[in-house]
Structure formats: C-alpha cells, structure tokens
Symmetry: C2
C-alpha cells in the first residue's frame, strides 16, 4: 500500500493539482476563455485526445458502428416532442433565439444530446428489419447550462468531446444484446487507458429521462469522489413512438423500432490524467502519449560533436520502429530543466545521452511510471523499449486498479459504511431489499448519492441494511462529482 | 471538346443533379433536417469527408500547423470588440440568449469564424518573437444566418466542415511569407482532389472585414457559375491591436504581433462532387473513395461455387495491397442493379467476375472515369490496378481543368466579354486601370460580380476596358454563387 500512496501523492489537493497540471502541461486552457465552463484543447492536449479517440473509433468501427455528423441546432418543436426527455434537460438547454438582429420564428436548442433529432431522421431512413441493427455514432460538442460550480473537463457547459452512439433494433432482445456490446466496447476502451471502473444499473430515480434503464460506468478520482464516465441506455420504444419510426418486421407486421444510446465524454480523458498523474505532473499511457520518447543530450563544450552525433543516431534507431520521438536540442534550458519539462508532460520514456553513454555505447533510459533509471546497451535498445512499452501500461493500470479496489468496500453495517465514506471517501456497497424507501433512507443516513446496483447481484442470505428483510441486491453509494 | 461535353453531361440542371445525387448516393441528407440550411453527413459521405480532411491535415501538419479546438460560443463583448469585424457579420450571427429558462447576462454568438476569440487568447499565450511563427488550425462547425436561398454544402447556415487556420508573426514580411505558404497548401489540396481553380486578390470592397487584403480561390461549377472555395487573409495588426497582443521583438522592442488567417469549407467537397460527377452519379478520386474497388460476381445456379471461390480469391489479392475493397454478395439485386448502385456512388473500379473469367483466369475491370471495360489477367491484376490508380486522378483532374479553361477567357472588349458571360457563364478577364469607379462600371455593365485581380498582372500595353487609360492589371468577372 505504501507504494500506492507514493504514486497517488499529488503534492496538493486534487482540484488544485488538476487545474495546475492541465494548464502548465499545455493540455487544456480552462481559466482564460472569457465564458464560464468552456475550455480550449491546446496542441499537446489535442493530440492526446486524438490518440484516445482513435482507439474508441477503432472499437466502434470494428463492431459495425458508422460515424455520422448531425447538425448542432435542434428546433424547439422537435426537442419538445419527447416531453419526458426534454423535462430531463429543461433547465439546462441553451437557446438560440436570434439570427442577426431578428428574432427566429422557432427557437433552436444547442444539442444537449441527439436522441430527438436523430430519431426524427430515422423515421425517414429506416423502414425494414432488413436494415437493422443500425449503429450510428458521432463525436461532437454538446451543451448544458450547468449552474453548479464548473470544473475543467469534468463539469463544463460545452462538452467539447462527446461521443454519442445511437442504435436501432427490431426488438427488445436485440436492444439487450446491444447494451452488452456497448458495455464491452466501453470496458475495452477504459481498459486500454488503464482507467478502473465499476458498472452499475442506476436506480430508477437517476436513469436517463426517456430510458427504460441506464447502465453507468463510474471511476474514482484521487480525492475519493466518484465520477460517471460512461452511460448506456436501453431506450425501448420511447423515442420511436413519439417520432413514429415504424418498421416492417420479419413476420410482415409493422411495429415501432427499438433503440439504445450510449455516450462517453472528455471526462474519460480527465480520469486518465487524474488516476495516473503524480506530483511531478502527467503520466500518460505509452500508446496515448504524443511524444513517447524524449532524447536529452548531456553536452559540454568539449563533448558537443560526439554527443550530438550519438544522440542523432539513437533517434534514428528509435524512429525506424515508428516510435514518436523528440530530440530536445534547446539551448536555453539546462538538462535538469528539460527533465522536469518532459516529466511534467507525461512523456513515458526519457533517453539520456552523455559522454559516458557515447564511450560505453549505451543509453540511460528513465521510466516516467516507476521513476527508474535503466542502463541499456544501444544494440538492445529497440528490444528493451518494446518490452517497457508493453509493461508500461500494465503498471499504470494495475496501480490504478489497486487504489480503486482499496476504496471500494462491501459492508453489512450502515455505521461502518458511513465511517468508511467519511474517512476514505470511495464507494460502499450495502445489502438492499430493493424497496424505494429503503434506498432513500440509505442516501439520507449516509449523506451520499446512489450509484445503483451491480449487474449481477449476489446478496443471497443477507438482509437489507435498512429494514432487515431479505436483500436481493446491493446498493452502491458514494459522494459524487 | 466533344469528350468534355459528354462527361459534363449531368442529364438535368446542375442544381437538380446535385441535390439528387447527394441524397441518393447517401453522402449528405439535406432536405429532411427540420431546420433550414443544415444537413447531415451520412456514413458514406462522412468517410469521403474524412479522407479529404486527412489530406488537408497532412499538408497543414507537415508545414508546422498545430490542431486545436476552441469553444463554439463567443461572448458578445469579445466579438463586438473588433467593430470593423463584427460589422462584417452583424446580420449573420446566431445569438444564444437563454440558458434553460433564464436570460443570460451576456449574449453568446455561435462562432462565424474565430479571429476574435483566438486573438483574445493569444494575448495570454504569446509574449515573444521566440514563440513565432505560431500556426494554429481547427476543424469545426461555423454558423451564419443566411437569408438568401440555401443550398446543400454550398450555402448553408451550419457549415459543418470548416477548417480555419490562424497564424501569428513577428512582422509584416513574415505574414507575406505565410500567405504564400497558405496559397501553396491550398493549391496542393485542390490539386489532390482534381479541382481546378483561379487565384485572385479580391477587390477592396469585397475583402474580409478586418483584413489588409484577401486572396481567394474560385472554381466553376458545371452551370458555369463561380464558387469561392478558399480564402487567405493578411490581417496585419488589425486584431492584435484591438486585443492587445504585444510581443517582445528580436531587437528588444515591444510591438503588436502580426497575423494571417485562412479558411476552407465543405464547399471543396461540393466542388469535388460537382466537377467530376456525371449523369451516372458521383465520380470520386481514387484515394478519396471509401470503397476503391467493388467486386461483382456474375452467378448462375450452376456456376455458383466456382465463381464465388474465384471472386473471393480476387478479393484476397486486392486486399493484400491495402485497397479498400467490397465484394457485393447481395442476393436481392441483379448484377445490372449492382453496377448502377456502385457507379452512382462513384466507386472508381468495378471488377466483374463470371464463369468466363474463371475459365480464362482473368477479370473484367470497369473504370468509372472513362467508362472503359478492360480485360486483365489475374496475375497482372495488382500491377494494372496500381497503374490505373495513378492514371485515374490525372484523368479526372485534366478533364476538369479542360472544362475550366474553356470557361475562363481574357477579353479586351466589354461587349465580347458580356456575350461570353451570357452564353457560357464562366469567368472573363478585362484590362483595368485599377480605379474604383471603373471597377464598379464593369460590374454594372456586365451585370456580374468581381473576383478581383491576378496575383501577378501582365496587362502592359493594354488599356482599361472602361476609361481607356493604361491598364495595370486585369479585373476578373463572373456570376457568383
């Protein structure tokens, strides 16, 4: 556990660390934009975002999802058609009311999500079971007028990286299959970034407006608070009935189509920064880092030519295998400043090259994850980098899971659960009979939020922590963002 | 010329053709979205868009441009600061006035372009000549409240594919260098898509509000009307003075920074569809097509096994070289219907495989560009496809340029120029003294718009077509979209 604590040490409170690191590493400029809740993806951050998105796109494309691009603006009459849906966002929609100096005939909403406009279009596009299942997705900005305190990437008014998927099916069973596929895709995506998570079925009172049920992924940030990082909704026929998406079924009958939708935002990137980072700054997964290896020549006036020649040779060797390499030749910084600079930006490997290395025909490799320095023969460099590359993400992932598991506990006793939440934050599970009033009682007593229930519950033989009746599941509780 | 006319034959008016082809080929759904001037990029169109964008990104990245992502919403006080600038868009900005049910304290504009918000940020980011030149770009939606008749991709209210680049420099000379670099990047991009263009310096009265001058690229659509497909602006210090972007210069002095900006939209894609398409539908450049080669097995009950086995082998051969291949095994369509289907979608090559091909160990290759059918030995297939692939884009490009040149004419006499414009539409050039009133007179007499002047004029010895004084340049005139 001590090792875990060392690596989780951010040197300051998480929220201070987060804002400071994003800004100084030039990932995301949040504080300077002159409208609240909106940030700028800077060049370095944009590349990180693209690398992560390309993994997500790969997972979606290989499971038959097709990327599209819908308009941003949704006319009021369309978004209001699903009254249950709009009620969910009523206080949170931005409205465009004027074009130029004139008021518009119909107000236009900035999309909070696209179920309404896409389902409207599907009423034209989809006519027969032969076209199904149909799986669309898009990566766009969505807008929510957050009135709570905003926070970079985590609670913003413009979510500038929102992947929303929308699928259409012949029947309820195929929706169920699709929900599992979505869970699988998201699990693989989070796994690839080394982000630990717990999957819960949200309680009725916290599901997506318009869904039959909502499955959610939550992770824990270093301050022990839970963050929702993905949701999957079985929408049933709720939207297709409103927008009259009728299909011919296999047996010739006509019925409304069935749908699911699922979304992921830049909160995933926020989590990746948060769970792997340390007091030296960012720690990026090896395949996500815009620069995977930085070469720092250690030069004196006498060794200038020899070291640079060797350094350039090292660079060629690494580039030949397609690694993203940067040789830092800046005059104005001393080596120690360069070390600090690139450690802060989360570059996985640093290769130091000085006169000793030239003479010994080796390099000194520094791992950002374990902070180890390793001597590597030049002829072994490519093998060693490949080996470290594979190990690197495992290290990040297993360390993050270790922290996560230490903060996720099952209890039978309410007061012990409360003590844990007060001390460690994190997530607690308590046996629950499933009755609404017992659920609300738990929230009240523990002064917390409900994440929901496990997908497969194993509470046999246990009693509800509130009423003592047979428990048929667990309730997961936390203090959320 | 007859050949040109055959290929330019769209079988109906250009505007009917354009709307019909985009919809039926499932590239872009324009008519169904319930808000005017906004369209949907469908899966097939989205892939075309991505392939084109990846060429553009490659050109920008390799010249030191860095991709970023700025917020969509610009507060009124920021966008109004550049009063000259906002005057240019005053009637065209969409305004967000409400968040939820409450009016906002400050109205927010949907970006019409991002000079104002980015320059505001640059006042924090850029302090010294050492950071320059700085070249940013982003690919985003921009919004203009068009009150004229809208048209898919060409005149829309949400431009859903806008690449805007913004650069910062130490002095005017470096801006001039950057303008040339931008012209070079755009020329290469249009060349890669086989889109012909003419480069003009826009007249004073038609430059971008806030620019010292504007260089524009125009092409001609099949109806002979000119379409602006790219602009490059030398902004001087107009924006940096307003937003106080001060830098330390090489000599230690402090001055306002210098800027350029340049933009390209989905009009480029509209032009690509328009200039290469024919009455059979789309014709896509070989490297842009989402499916480069479609294989159509010609099957009877008796030949089923043999043909499919051979067809599958042909597919393996083509895939081994990385071509994007689709083997059309749909039962419900006859071969002729499949031919029509894929020709309409602009797939460059069709490989037909029937019993004759099986027995002769060859395939029949159909070229969408020239409509030729070619017999190719199976062992020669990869060589032949590579050869055709190289030739294909040249064919498209040279054909499009031939049409373009036939519709771009230089005259000395106004009445002949007018006759040409009336008959062929296109673009005419007339010698011009450079005086404002002579320019306006030309527009009035010819009932047309001005594209501007060539970058290097060669009007020596000629007289202004209006006043007869020495001409120092040519004025280019057209009837614009």
């Amino acid at each position: 556990m001590s090792e875990v604590n060392v690596y989780r040490d951010l040197g300051r409170s998480f929220s201070e660390w987060f804002d400071y690191v994003l800004e100084v590493s030039e990932v995301y400029d949040y504080g300077r934009y002159p409208a609240k809740g909106m940030g700028v993806w800077l060049p370095y951050g944009f590349k990180i975002r693209e690398n992560a998105l390309s993994i997500l796109r790969g997972l979606l494309n290989s499971t038959g999802h097709e990327e599209i691009l819908l308009p941003l603006l949704i006319p009021e009459n369309i978004i209001k058609k699903e009254s249950e849906h709009i009620r969910g966002f009523e206080d949170q929609v931005y409205w465009v009311t004027h074009g130029g100096l004139e008021p518009l005939d119909i107000k236009l909403a900035l999309r909070p999500t696209s179920e309404t406009s896409l389902t409207y279009l599907e009423s034209f596009w989809i006519k027969s079971y032969k076209q199904l299942p149909k799986k669309y997705y898009q990566v766009v900005s969505i807008f929510r007028y957050e009135t709570k305190a905003t926070r970079a990437m985590i609670r913003v008014r413009e979510v500038s990286t929102f992947k929303e998927a929308h699928t259409v099916h012949e029947d309820f069973n195929d929706c169920e299959r699709q929900v599992l596929e979505a869970i699988d895709v998201y699990s693989k995506f989070f796994n690839s970034l080394g982000i630990p998570y717990i999957i819960s079925k949200r309680p009725e009172w916290d599901k997506f407006a318009g869904a039959i049920y909502t499955i959610a992924f939550d992770t824990l940030l270093p301050d022990g608070r839970a963050l929702q990082i993905g949701t999957v909704h079985n929408l049933g026929q709720n939207f297709t009935k409103v927008f009259e998406v009728r299909i011919q079924k296999r047996d010739g009958s006509i019925d409304y189509a069935w749908q699911t939708s699922y979304g992921i935002s830049e909160r995933v990137l926020a989590s990746m920064f948060a769970v792997h980072g340390d007091r030296r700054g960012l720690v990026l997964p090896f395949h996500i880092a815009p620069i995977q290896i930085v070469i720092i020549p250690l030069i004196t006036a006498e060794t200038y030519d020899d070291v640079l020649k060797y350094s350039s040779k090292v660079r060629e060797v690494l580039i030949s295998k397609g690694y993203r390499v940067y040789e830092d030749l800046r005059d104005e910084l001393r080596p120690g400043e360069k070390f600090y600079y690139w450690e802060f930006r989360g570059v996985p490997l640093r290769v130091e090259v000085g006169m000793k290395e030239v003479e010994g025909n080796y390099v000194t490799v520094f791992r950002r994850d374990t902070l180890e320095r390793i001597k590597v023969e030049l002829k072994e460099l490519l093998n060693k980098v490949e080996e470290i590359g594979l190990d690197y993400n495992n290290t990040l992932s297993s360390r993050a899971w270790q922290v996560f598991k230490s903060k996720t506990m099952r209890f039978t006793d309410i007061s012990k659960a409360k003590e844990f939440l007060n001390n460690s934050k994190g997530i607690v599970e308590l046996p629950w009979c499933g009755k609404h009033e017992c659920g609300l009682k738990l929230l009240e007593v523990l002064e917390c939020d409900a994440l929901g229930t496990p997908l497969d519950s194993e509470a046999k033989g246990l009693s509800c922590a509130v009423c003592g009746a047979n428990a048929n599941t667990f309730m997961r509780l936390t203090r959320k963002y």
